[in-house]
């Protein structure tokens, strides 16, 4: 490989977890970002505290593609346990960097790549005294090596060190030493730079690097959520961590210093959602973040919330199922579960952000929808969105925004009414009026998950029961007019369409570009919400073939489309990529093209 590639390559770091590698890897990625080059990082980490293999993949892409490329150009192989697979993963013509402090050349034989040994441990043992520093600084040193090999702007890295460590001068000094050590070793021993180079451009102004759990937490903060209840579960835990840290700064009462929020670590997910419902019922904006196993546990209460019409927001940061599955791998396996969670006839409003940017805006919207529709609303993110750092546009906030609390009667309004009944469909949109406890004695009503009639009374009467559940269907129709519309890219010249969901978006965007170059153009719709709006039906009607692409084994979105729209099921071609790794554009292309070929052959 002699052709020079600027800003278009993937570096993968193979580490042992618990060795502090993630800060160094993050530093590498952030430096690229600060050089103005679009970049994305994917963390493939174990469900473990210390000692197991972990990988971090940084894709540098001048075109701004944010899906993992699916290939590795430079491997930083720091974990002897995984040398074999790391060596095998490098693209022909690529590079592998390893710690040559111990002679292991015989393990690193591949003719079609270049292996670069750097005595990282030896250098760090000479320079640093403590065991911890020796371990940590090896990581910083390989960033130095990469800086030389990729011709990175070292001033950017140094500034990042200053910003990261602030007044901790000893840390700045140690990291600077380690960086220089790696940089100088590479300069002296290798032909720098490699054909892969990071060249400053100006494509990251107006962007931030952030994960989707942090942005979802910001959404909760800005939406005015005050009660958050939760039970720790990967990969949703950092959502509440982020909310807590934002609240400790932005939500202190000015006079007393007390909290304008309540974060409750529950005893389990059953309690977490019970608290969220209790708070929603009592007039607070409430939410609970969890992952798939938590939704399973919450299901009884979710049906209760649906039937008793209590607003709350449930974040499902999806991970790989079934059962415990792979807690640190991503999937979109809860689409069916959340759409219909709980026994009996229940259907729930679900929002599907594609990235951390949407996780912010849709989480704000979720709180409005929950209150406008008086029902639990799901935000289905996933581990990839929630825990990986993405490059997204600067988040924006309109100070004119006022939360829409829906149909809540004030004390004055209640005073003017002769009688108040909780479940009367006064406006014909299926959404009744609610009252907040403590407002006015005339607003009292009894919330119950047992059969109730439109007046809020207990019932076992057939028609009274049916009256209420049928009215909930009217509300469902109203929901279709309120939920966010899909993102659509459409040209009437194309008769093939792609429908997808959530974090598949970037892989599909890139796959469409690849196929377009090959002369195969396709339209694209990404659903942002369930129930499906009329735009989804229109898109389904407009195409002869529709590829539905998603990250689960059973084609849950495809099935939901077939059962919840008027589409002819034969038009749907389900493409499923569900191994726990974010999907690669090339796999999307390959699956679509092989399906099209098979269709032609038949």
């Amino acid at each position: 490989m002699t052709k020079v590639s600027h800003n278009n390559f993937t570096v993968k770091f193979a580490n042992v977890n618990g060795t502090g590698s993630s800060s160094a890897n993050g530093m590498f990625m952030k430096s690229i970002f600060r050089m103005g080059i679009p970049v994305v990082g994917k963390n493939y980490f174990p469900s473990n505290i210390q000692g197991l293999p972990t990988w971090y993949e940084v894709r540098v892409s001048d075109k701004g593609y944010l899906a993992p490329s699916g290939s590795v150009d430079i491997m930083v192989a720091m974990n002897a346990q995984t040398y074999d697979e790391d060596l095998a993963a490098v693209e022909p013509g690529g590079y592998l960097i390893y710690d040559s402090s111990w002679p292991r050349e015989e393990l690193m034989i591949r003719d079609d790549i270049t292996v670069l040994g750097v005595p990282l441990a030896n250098m760090c043992n000479e320079k640093f005294d403590s065991a911890r520093a020796r371990t940590l600084m090896k990581n910083t040193s390989y960033v130095g090596v990469l800086a030389a090999l990729l011709e990175m702007d070292t001033k950017v890295i140094e500034q990042l060190l200053l910003d990261t460590f602030g007044d901790k001068k000893h840390l700045i000094d140690a990291n600077k030493t380690a960086l220089d050590m790696g940089f100088n070793y590479a300069k002296e021993n290798f032909k720098c730079p490699l054909p892969y180079r990071a060249k400053p451009i100006n494509k990251t102004d107006g962007y931030i690097m952030i994960d989707g759990n942090a942005t979802a937490a910001l959404g909760c903060l800005f939406a005015g959520a005050t009660v958050g209840s939760w039970y720790p579960i990967t990969p949703s835990t950092s959502l509440m961590d982020a909310f807590s840290s934002y609240c400790s700064f932005y939500r202190k009462d000015k006079k007393t210093g007390k909290n304008n929020y309540s974060i409750i670590q529950a005893e389990d997910e059953l309690a977490a959602v019970g608290m969220a419902l209790g708070a929603g019922w009592n007039g607070a904006r409430s939410f609970t973040p969890t992952s798939g196993p938590g939704i399973s546990l919450m299901s009884e209460f979710i049906g209760f919330g649906y039937y008793t019409e209590i607003p709350t927001v449930i974040f499902d940061v999806q991970r790989t199922g079934p059962s415990t599955g792979m807690p640190t791998r991503t999937q979109q396996g809860d689409i069916s579960l959340c759409a219909y969670a709980s026994h009996g006839d229940t259907r729930h409003v679900c929002l599907y952000p594609a990235n951390p940017e949407e996780a912010f805006y849709l989480s704000v919207e979720a709180f409005d929808l929950a209150e406008k529709l008086q029902t639990p609303v799901f935000v289905l993110s996933d581990l990839d969105i929630g825990m990986n750092d993405w490059m997204i546009k600067d988040l924006e906030w309109d100070d004119k925004f006022k939360p829409d609390r829906g149909k809540v009667l004030s004390s004055e309004e209640l005073e003017e009414m002769e009688n108040y009944y909780r479940y009367l469909d006064v406006d014909g949109d299926g959404v009744p009026y609610r009252t907040i406890p403590g407002t006015n004695p005339k607003g009292s009503y009894f919330t119950r998950g047992s059969g109730h009639n439109r007046f809020g009374g207990y019932t076992e009467d057939a028609s009274e029961y049916q009256d209420v559940v049928d009215r909930l269907l009217v509300k469902w129709e109203t929901a279709k007019t309120l939920v966010p519309k899909p993102a659509v890219s459409f040209s009437k010249n194309n008769d093939i369409g792609i429908i997808s969901i959530g974090s598949c978006d970037d892989a599909i965007r890139e796959a469409r570009d690849i196929m377009k170059k090959q002369g195969q153009k396709m339209n694209y719709l990404r659903v942002k919400a369930f129930p499906f709006t009329k735009e989804v039906q229109k898109f389904l009607d407009a195409h002869k073939t529709i590829f539905v692409i998603e990250q689960n084994r059973d084609g849950q979105l495809a099935k939901l489309l077939i059962s919840e729209t008027e589409v002819d099921a034969k038009k749907i071609k389900s493409i499923r990529l569900y191994n726990g790794i974010p999907i690669f554009p090339k796999d999307v292309v390959e699956k679509i093209q092989s399906d099209l070929k098979a269709g032609k052959a038949a």
């Binding site: 690097m209 005050t226 929020y261 009592n282 100070d399 009503y445 009374g457 019932t459």
Partner: protein, 351 residues
């Protein structure tokens, strides 16, 4: 309609409380429990309690789980918001409701099945949090709605209606609650309103988690000979450890007790609990004496009743959480949203 509204008849000479409300104003819909059910007596005692305490009904919420006991919040205080949640999960709903607005009084009604089996986890954690609520267990040792299975509070040897004896160790809610750190634990009997009403008053006014285990016989499935939770058995075996009076704020103490035998505990809301011990070796201010007393009585086949433990000095849930003093659900949105300037500044951290 499958529920019956009670006809409201107000007579001119009906007694009125300080709010001008009659006893009827604190009633709910007609009970659908069996005639003679202990739970209905407890409902009556609750109505008397909130009437006497001049509670504004809309400033109180009433919650429950599932079961016969959990039906009862519909039978009192119809002007209070009610919440009949799912089985065993009322404590979590109460926790969320309390977080949203800690200014409302909260009464939770549960049963022995709802609390000690399916709801044991949530019950324990509500105790741990010292959630500010009155938690009443209407305890009859049996599952009524499913027709007569033993519950976790059934005593060893107590027999079911068809004669089978329970062989499993009972869970005593009072000992459990005290062990878990509850700050107000009492036991009473549905057939003893004189004892129950002052306990309900004190429990409702207590700051923190107040649990009252009320033996409340099930006339249909557990009131036969051989049952240790029948009316007859309870009357015979209960022994009052401490006589309890609730003294409202600014009122005189009218009773005189012998020196040394009585204690006063100031409640956070300004009232007092006046206690008269029946036994020198037992003090409701001492956790280990209380647990020992319950155990010793139980070993003798007695049910120890009265206020068994009180600690008014522990911070409650919202205090521990450092939540604002007022209602969280009425903080204005302007005070909740940091605004665009703050957001823009925050984004610098992610550049």
């Amino acid at each position: 309609m499958s529920y019956i509204k009670k006809p409201k008849i107000i007579r001119d000479n009906d007694p009125r409380n300080k709010l001008g409300m009659t006893f009827d104003d604190y009633e709910g819909v007609m009970s659908t429990l069996c005639a003679g059910c202990g739970h209905d007596s407890i409902t009556g005692a609750i109505i008397q309690t909130v009437f006497d305490l001049n509670i504004e009904p809309h400033r109180m919420i009433k919650l429950s789980g599932i079961g016969c006991s959990s039906k009862t919040p519909a039978y009192f205080a119809s002007q209070s918001h009610g919440f009949n949640s799912v089985h065993g999960r009322m404590p979590s709903v109460a926790t969320g409701a309390n977080a949203a607005n800690s200014e409302l009084l909260c009464i939770g009604v549960s049963g022995d099945g709802d609390t000690l089996s399916i709801g044991m986890g949530q019950f324990s954690h509500a105790v741990r949090r010292n959630l500010n609520m009155l938690y009443i267990i209407e305890n009859n040792g049996v599952y009524g709605l499913t027709k007569g299975q033993f519950s976790a509070s059934a005593d060893i040897g107590s027999t079911a209606k068809k004669g089978a004896a329970n062989l499993q160790t009972p869970i005593d809610p009072c000992s459990v609650a005290i062990t878990l750190g509850a700050t107000f634990v009492a036991r009473s009997f549905s057939g003893d309103k004189d004892q129950l009403i002052p306990l309900l008053k004190a429990g409702l006014m207590h700051r923190g988690f107040a649990m009252i285990d009320v033996i409340s016989p099930c006339v249909t499935f557990n009131d036969h000979e051989g049952s240790t939770k029948s009316y007859m058995s309870t009357r015979e075996t209960k022994r009052e450890a401490v006589y309890t009076d609730y003294i409202a704020p600014f009122s005189e103490i009218e009773v005189q007790y012998e020196e040394g035998s009585s204690l006063e505990v100031d409640l956070h809301e300004g009232g007092k609990v006046l206690l008269r011990k029946t036994d020198d070796s037992f003090s409701p201010l001492d956790r280990s004496q209380s647990i020992n007393g319950i155990k010793e009585a139980s070993d003798k086949g007695e049910i120890l009743t009265g206020l068994l433990y009180i600690n008014e000095s522990q911070p409650d849930f919202t205090e521990v959480e450092n939540t604002i003093d007022g209602a969280l659900n009425s903080v204005s949105y302007d005070d909740l949203c940091p605004g665009s300037k703050a957001l823009n500044k925050l984004l610098d951290n992610y550049k």
